[in-house]
Amino acid sequence: MLSRLFKFNGGVKPQTHKAPSVELPIGQAPLPERCYVPLHQSIGGAANPAVSVGQSVLKGQVLGNADGWVSAAVHAPTSGTVVAIEAHVAAHPSGLPTLTAVIVPDGRDEWIDRQPIDHRHLAPEQVRELLRDAGVVGLGGAVFPSHAKLTAAKSIPVEHLVINGAECEPFMTCDDMLMRERAEDIVRGSAIFRELLGARQVLIGIEDNKPEAVAAMREAVSRLGEDYEVVAVPTRYPAGGAKQLIRVLTGKEVPASRRSTDLAVQCFNVATAYTAYRALAYGEPVISRIVTVTGNVEQARNWEVRLGTPMREVIALAQPKPGTHQYLMGGPMMGFEIPDLAAPVVKATNCLIAGSPALFPPPPPEMPCIRCGACAEACPHELQPFELYWFARARNFGKTQEYFIFDCIECGCCSYVCPSHIPLVQYFRFAKSEIWAREREKQAADAAKARFESRNAREQREAAEKAERLAKAAANRPARPVAEKADSSAPPSTAADGVGMTTSPAVANVDTEADPAPEATAIKQATIAAAMARARAQREAVQPKNTAALTDEQQRQIAAIDARRAAVAGQADSAPGAGDG
């Protein structure tokens, strides 16, 4: 048993609101009428479509293959027909569209041929590839591809594997219910992670407000004869942040802009461990996840929802009460308001909350910062939010980086405690996305500069090569008497431009070669003029359609337009003629 637990700085204790959604067991959400499966459901590259429109797919069939190493595949949540691969509203605060495969289920829910795999007979690289192709990503909400986190650094052997079941966000109970009902599979999944990483010790951290989950996990660990430690950690938001949980369990503090693997610790969510086990032992890719549907509803509950189910249908299962004025995805601290309920449930959707003014009263007006320092005391990363706020507000992004804005996990503790009700996290999100945008612009500008310079270099080289070719051709020809005259009058710059162009015949040659040039230009101009004429003829050849039954009014309008066109064309024709003359 761990001798003692450690503490992290700050944190808050909001009301948990977890009780209503744990009364019923996890329910199976019904099959939706249409599944909207976005192809980009993880951090990293968007999956490349592997199906075509009209193709029939089976449950678990790959819809999109991972694009590169940091990316994960997406799969069909049920059997049916792909009716479209199109832009559909994303589960994102912007409500902008993203490339989505639309599947009409056939109702049979027929699986692909599932192949259980014993990962112990495979090389670690193969297991990682299998996990990537099964679409296993971090289901705590960050959706980072798990296989990319399972590559142990050779120099630092992993000591602790932390399995995160803390679930500190208010309202959210999906991990709690998963641990209560499917504890054994989570423990088996943890065993896979442990073997891949070669971790010495496995620590399962669960907040102590979930005694049933702790008991279930302890029982599963002892039943499977593992030596994992299930630790109840004090309930304090954000104990479920990876760096905070690592700090509480191991006492190790991850330094700014470093990773936990540098300190020989790796952290996974319980649901991720569960899906990894299902992917290997049952051959089932990630096609569903547990979603807590709660808030201002008649029946709060956890549902196992197929990915791609429209959020509207999932929320309808909980029967929202009247007075609901907004819907949140994720918890109230870190989540965002869903702009459009047509957005589908994705791998990052851990919780859907129906919000009412009673649950989430409108924030009081923002008051000036009085630099009381309450936010710094609450910050679990020991940042100085009041300084960051000052610089983010003034758009002084360089300074925000000096104050480590990228170590901010946007947990919302600072906004929660601020006596002036300043939405600090919104300022930090704004500053972060501005900095990223500038970074992108800078990269684009650098790339454009490099291309421009290489183009200039190429043009110079080509000019030099041409001059050299001409010089050689001229040298092979017998010298003419003109050469002497040209030599004396040759400007020095001509010699400097060309490579080895110092012989007199070369200069003479350039002079004589210059004669056919106007002719070539004339031919080119004639060609262009002909092409323009052709293009115009093509444009004019287009016959209007649907002209059979026109009213008098329409006929008149057409006649007027034609007259205007003719007038314009007449002007255009006469203008160049005047110019030529």
Partner: protein, 180 residues
């Protein structure tokens, strides 16, 4: 008296030699200020400032012969950065600010004349003589240099719409009515 003069003269010779050596050893190639100005400019190479590219404009600013408000793609943001760097006054932009654009070739109309390929400063147009051309959108800087040379007017500039990749969190704004 003579010894004092000798000491001073010796000092002068030694220090002079050191300075002379340093000026050769640590000679700075090019104008470092021009490099800094060039880094602020957006590198569209569009020539809208009246100079043939971003580098020549940077040189002109560096030598003091050009104003800092001539770069439309850089926008007011760019003018502000240049003013900060050079200690000059911020001036309103000498043109209207446009959103970021990308060139699109209407492929039915393209006759394959290669004139736009020759005009593109960043080699972002692919195609061959009498073959259809197309713009590589990710490389296009939106400089509009390809629009004029096209004999059949088949190149249009389209503003880049907001999408999930370039979406940004907005600056927090609150209704004054509610706050009052």
């Amino acid at each position: 008296m003579i010894s004092t003069l000798a000491i001073m003269a010796l000092g002068a010779i030694v220090l002079g030699a050191a300075l002379g050596y340093a000026s050769i050893r640590f000679k700075v190639e090019g104008n470092p200020l021009v490099e800094k100005i060039d880094a602020i400019l957006p590198q569209t190479q569009c020539g809208q400032c009246g100079y043939p590219g971003c580098k020549p404009y940077a040189e002109a600013i560096g030598s003091g012969e050009a104003e800092i408000n001539l770069c439309p793609p850089g926008g007011m943001d760019g003018v502000r950065k240049l003013a900060d760097l050079l200690g000059r006054e911020v001036k309103p932009l000498d043109a209207e600010e446009k959103p970021k654009q990308v060139a699109i070739i209407i492929e039915q109309t393209c006759i394959g004349c290669t004139l736009c390929i020759q005009a593109c400063p960043v080699d972002a147009i692919v195609g061959a003589a009498k073959q259809m051309h197309t713009v590589v959108g990710s490389l296009c800087t939106g400089c509009e240099l390809c629009v004029k040379p096209c004999p059949v007017e088949c190149i249009v500039m389209e503003p880049i719409a907001e999408n999930l990749d370039n979406w940004k969190w907005k600056y927090p704004v609150f209704e004054i009515r509610r706050a009052a």
